[in-house]
């Protein structure tokens, strides 16, 4: 599960492990993988599990 920016560039890895069935939550604190604040704008959160991919769009407003 990753965050990419509007250009499709990788920003942040949120989840990268085997997860148990059920409901899970993850928080993104507007940081990239290096811990730096990211700029305002649209980002895409992509959940990739098995052979499926789901997306959600988020908007960071500073």
């Amino acid at each position: 599960m990753v965050v990419v920016n509007a250009l499709g560039q990788h920003v942040r890895t949120l989840v990268n492990e085997r997860m148990a069935p059920g409901a899970h939550r993850v928080t993104w604190s507007a940081l990239d993988d290096q811990g730096r604040d990211v700029a305002s704008g649209v980002y895409i959160v992509s959940l990739r599990a098995g052979d499926k991919v789901l997306h959600q769009r988020v908007l960071l407003v500073k």
């Binding site: 085997r18 993104w28 507007a30 990739r48 959600q56 960071l60």
Partner: protein, 171 residues
């Protein structure tokens, strides 16, 4: 306490461990006797059922969830109070429980993930073990971020129907 053919009282609010407003002036005593295992399971529709053995006269529970509506079978009194994510329940009665499987129904009225919220249950202040069963989601889901737009952080919830590797593009 809780003896006699009938009860007449009004229930305003029940706080776990404190039922003095409902049952008189004595100290709170809401442990079922003898304690036995209760099973709070979740149905796919977001309806919750509490399974309990017949003969337990009173119990109380505290459930972490959004909000809910609680009903019990006829002949039993149920009081509940939702505050934040905590639902407090107290139930009392004398009629035998003929169908333990549908004794108590909690209809969850939730927001983000209505069906598969994880819950923490404390029954009779922990003196009765409770087992929570969570049905597996039917399909993979990624819910909209909350809040959105956001600053400084946002939360995403997702559901996995089976144990799954959640991985990144490059892996």
């Amino acid at each position: 306490m809780l003896e006699g053919p009938s009860l007449e009282f009004n229930i305003d609010m029940v706080l776990l461990g404190d039922v003095t407003t409902n049952w008189g002036t004595g100290p709170a005593k809401i442990a079922a006797s003898p304690p036995r295992a209760l099973d709070l399971s979740v149905r796919e529709t977001g309806t919750w059922s509490l399974h309990m053995g017949a003969g337990d006269p009173v119990f109380a529970a505290e459930v972490e969830m959004r909000s809910a509506e609680v009903t019990a079978v006829e002949g039993w009194l149920v009081a509940w109070h939702a505050e934040g994510s905590t639902l407090r329940i107290a139930v009392a009665g004398f009629d035998p429980i003929t169908d333990p499987t549908d004794f108590l129904t909690i209809r969850a009225n939730t927001g983000l993930v209505p069906t598969f919220e994880r819950v923490n249950v404390v029954l009779n202040e922990g003196t009765i073990p409770a087992e929570v069963q969570i049905n597996r989601p039917h399909s993979l889901a990624l819910h909209p971020a909350v809040p959105n737009p956001f600053n400084p952080s946002t939360q995403l919830s997702y559901e996995l129907p089976e144990e799954t590797a959640v991985y990144t593009w490059s892996s």
